[in-house]
Each structure stands twice: as structure tokens, then as C-alpha cells.
């Protein structure tokens, strides 16, 4: 286990503990968000095992990307007020499941190729949800300070992570294209994950405080 992996693991465990402690007082959306942590931990562990045994983790990444997208989409579903957006999230989730199956069978085979198309599509949708949620927040501001709102930190984490995901994929492809590899890309990937996990933890704590206030 590398230092980056160890830090990532420790962060995930800390956020998982926060999630478990806060869970009874969390709102629906944040309860769903809590589930993303054990799911990530589980898939990360299987992924490492898979690399060791089969020299590839493509299958795990296909499943992880789909599972996390469904969970994030569910969290957004509970956060939006407008029925049209909720309907859009629901429809897009079904469409993503269908696309993931087609992609895994015909385009980027399940056990061989990294599911970059699935990552691009799901992250594009998450960025759209994030921007729409920011818009909703501006339309219906509450009296609570923005930095004390779980919804703000969650949305920021998704916007940040999904945007940097494009950059990560582009850099990885660029390096692969030029048959060059540098550990810098690993650091960048892990930095994105660290920020995502830290912001998720902050979001859970803030949401617990918000519901405690009500």
C-alpha cells in the first residue's frame, strides 16, 4: 500500500465514522451520501485485489462508476425541489444504467478496458446537477450562513471532483498517448479524492448541525 492509498483509506474511514455517527440526524439526501463512503471503500478494496489477481480492475471500475453515480443521483434527487429536475434525474439514471450495460458489452469491454466513456457521461451529468443545485440555492436562499450548509459543501465537492475528473482523464490519456508515465498524475488523482472525501465529511457534519438546529 502506497502512502497516497493509505491516506485515502484513512480519510474514507474517518468520513465513514462521521457518517455513521451523524446518520440518525441526517436528511434523506445526506443519508444516501453516507452510503457512497462504504461503497467506495468496498470497491477500492476489491479493485486492489482484482489488480493483484487478474492484473486488471476494469470490471470493478465499471461497477463502481455506475454504483456511485446512482447514489449521487439519488442524493441530488432528494435535494431538488422542482419535479421536472427530479424527473430528469430519474430518467438520466435509467439511461445511464442502459448505457453502462451497452458500453460494458460492446464499446469498452467489462473485463478489459477502463470505462472512460461512462466516467465522462456520468461526470458531465453530475456537473449539470451541481450547477442546477447552485441555481436552486440562489433562488431559495435560507437564513443560515452558506458555509454552515451541508448542501453547499456537498455540491462544491461534486463540482470540484467531476470537473477535475475530466482533467485527470485527459492527462492520463495524454501521457498514455505519448507512452509516458509520471507519478504526478497519481498525486493529482489522489488529491481530487482527498478533497472529495474531506468535503463530504464537512457536508455531513454541517447537515447534522442544521437538522439539530431545527
Amino acid at each position: 500500500m502506497t502512502i497516497q492509498e493509505a491516506i485515502d483509506f484513512v480519510l474514507l474511514v474517518i468520513v465513514l465514522i462521521i457518517g455513521i455517527v451523524c446518520y440518525p440526524k441526517l436528511t434523506k439526501a445526506f443519508r444516501v451520501l453516507t452510503f457512497t463512503i462504504p461503497v467506495t471503500l468496498l470497491f477500492d478494496s476489491i479493485s486492489k485485489l482484482s489488480v493483484r489477481l487478474y492484473k486488471t480492475n476494469a470490471l470493478v471500475l465499471h461497477l463502481e462508476c455506475l454504483a456511485l453515480y446512482i447514489l449521487y443521483a439519488m442524493a441530488y434527487y432528494h435535494l431538488f425541489r422542482r419535479k421536472r429536475i427530479k424527473k430528469f434525474i430519474f430518467t438520466s439514471t435509467i439511461a445511464i444504467v442502459v448505457f453502462a450495460v451497452i458500453n460494458a458489452i460492446f464499446i469498452q469491454p467489462l473485463n478489459k478496458i477502463f470505462p472512460s466513456y461512462l466516467y465522462i457521461v456520468t461526470n458531465t451529468l453530475l456537473i449539470i446537477f451541481s450547477v442546477l443545485l447552485f441555481r436552486q440555492m440562489l433562488l431559495y436562499p435560507t437564513s443560515i450562513s452558506i458555509t454552515s450548509q451541508g448542501i453547499f459543501w456537498f455540491n462544491t465537492s461534486i463540482l470540484f471532483f467531476s470537473t477535475t475528473m475530466f482533467l485527470n482523464l485527459a492527462l492520463t490519456n495524454y501521457w498514455a498517448e505519448h507512452k509516458y508515465w509520471d507519478n504526478m498524475i497519481y498525486d493529482f488523482w489522489y488529491a481530487s479524492y482527498y478533497i472529495l472525501n474531506i468535503l463530504t465529511g464537512v457536508a455531513l457534519i454541517c447537515n447534522r448541525k442544521e437538522t439539530g438546529r431545527k
Binding site: F134, L138, T142, T156, T163, T164, W175, K179, D182
Partner: protein, 271 residues
């Protein structure tokens, strides 16, 4: 940099780092911009809410005053049309009785008749001071003068009334509210101040109207001023605000109390 015989120029890496930096910078700026926008929106919402609450309070006060005026008008007409009529009948009857009884008892009947006559006069005055129609037809100064006469006659306190500048109409509703403020202050002085003297001042200036009541009573402390809930003092302030004026209440123990209502006559704020 070299990898498997294909080189990546340092320039390219630099470009990637710059693009990455720009993207992250843009992200951070976007979030900061959002936070600023959100805070502005929160402030605007807070202002709107405060305005709504102020309007609501104004409406509530307006309704309270309307209900109060209706009640006072009802009481006024009841006193005028019913009680004073009955008392007039009693007075007439006593007059008839007086002529038919012996001298010893007649003086007592006449004395009682005079008392009834005095009660009728007092009740008529009271009825007039309660009636909105009467106040609006007489005007503020005349109504205050009548009230001053009525209270002075009772001998409870010595009230002096002064006017500065030539009077101008302030509008029916504003004059009614000013008269109610005057009544409230007068009532407070009579009930709580143990004052011997009350000075009333009406200042009719071109740009400002001032109603001032100054007594030499026992006064009260700053705590009494702050803890106005449930007392007539808060009523005075609220009523003044309702017609676009400001009421200042100044008092300290042993130094009497002064109530000052300042109003812009040009600002036609009706409730």
C-alpha cells in the same frame, strides 16, 4: 523528458500545469462568486422580510386602531343616545317631584337634580371626546382645548395649553391619532404621575409639527422606559410611527415626564 523513445517537451508539461492551474483557479473563483451572490441574496431576503414584518405590524396596528375607534364611537353614541337621555328623564322627573314636596326635602331633591345635570354635562363631554366624528368636525386644537377644560374643571391637575404658529390641518386620521396620543399621555399623567401641573404645547411650523406634553410628576427611571411592553408608552410610539411621526419619551425619577411627538406635515402618511 523521455519515455520509450518518444519525447514530451517540457513546454507541453508547462502548458498542462498552466491549464490545470487555470481550471482550478476558475473553479475556486466560481465558488467564491457563488458565495458572494448567495450572501447578497440572503441580505436582500432579510431586508424584504423585515419590510414585510414592518408592513404586517403596521396593518395590525391599523386594524387595532380601527377596532378601537369603532368601539369608542359605539360607547360615545351609547352615552349620548341612551345614558344621557335616561339621565335627562331622571332630571325632569326630579324637577317635577321637587315642586310637589315640602321645603325640607325639596332642597335635597334640587341638589340631586343638579348633580344629575352635572353628570349629564360630563357624560356629553366624554362622549364628544370619544367620538371620531366630533374630533374630525372640531379639529385637533379645539378638541384638545375642550378636553383641557374638562380636566381642569375636575380640579385634579392644572393644565396649560400653548400654541406656537398658526394652525394648519394635518388630515382627519392624523389629527385623530394625535388626539389619541394626547389622551393616552394625559391618562398616564393622571393615573401614575401624581403631577400638579401639565404643560401642553402645539407647534405649527412650516416644516414640522410638534405636540409636547410636559408634567412635573414623579417621573420614572430608564428601566421603566425600556420596559414599555404592555404600557401606554409603547402605544404612543406605535401610534406616532403609524402616521409617519416619531415619539420621544423622556423621564427620570422626580423630574416629571415629557412626551414629544414630531411630525412632518408635508409627508402625507396615512395608515
Amino acid at each position: 523528458m523521455q519515455s520509450d523513445g518518444i519525447s514530451i517537451h517540457a513546454d507541453n508539461i508547462g502548458t498542462i500545469v498552466i491549464i490545470t492551474g487555470l481550471l482550478l483557479g476558475f473553479l475556486v473563483c466560481s465558488v467564491v462568486y457563488f458565495v458572494v451572490l448567495y450572501r447578497n441574496k440572503q441580505l436582500k431576503n432579510k431586508r424584504d422580510q423585515e419590510e414585510l414584518e414592518a408592513n404586517f405590524r403596521q396593518e395590525l396596528l391599523k386594524t387595532q386602531l380601527e377596532v378601537q375607534e369603532q368601539t369608542l364611537n359605539y360607547i360615545s353614541s351609547e352615552i349620548h343616545d341612551n345614558i344621557t337621555q335616561v339621565l335627562s328623564f331622571v332630571k325632569l322627573t326630579l324637577g317635577n317631584i321637587a315642586s310637589g314636596v315640602e321645603d325640607e326635602k325639596r332642597s335635597k331633591v334640587i341638589e340631586t337634580r343638579e348633580l344629575v345635570a352635572q353628570t349629564i354635562t360630563d357624560l356629553r363631554d366624554l362622549s364628544k371626546s370619544l367620538s371620531f366624528e366630533h374630533i374630525s368636525s372640531q379639529g385637533l386644537i379645539r378638541t384638545i382645548e375642550k378636553e383641557v377644560e374638562r380636566v381642569n374643571k375636575s380640579g385634579l391637575i392644572n393644565i396649560s395649553l400653548e400654541q406656537d404658529g398658526s394652525s394648519y390641518p394635518l388630515g382627519e386620521q392624523r389629527e385623530l391619532v394625535l388626539f389619541r396620543i394626547f389622551q393616552e399621555s394625559l391618562n398616564n399623567t393622571l393615573k401614575h404621575a401624581a403631577a400638579r401641573r401639565l404643560k401642553i404645547m402645539l407647534m405649527y411650523h412650516a416644516d414640522v409639527f410638534v405636540l409636547m406634553l410636559d408634567d412635573d410628576g414623579s417621573g420614572f427611571s430608564a428601566d421603566g422606559l425600556e420596559n414599555k411592553a404592555g404600557s401606554g408608552l409603547r402605544n404612543i410610539e406605535n401610534r406616532a410611527a403609524l402616521i409617519g411621526g416619531t415619539a420621544t419619551i423622556d423621564s427620570s425619577p422626580g423630574k416629571g415626564c415629557s412626551v414629544k411627538v414630531v411630525l412632518d406635515p408635508l409627508k402625507q402618511q396615512l395608515y
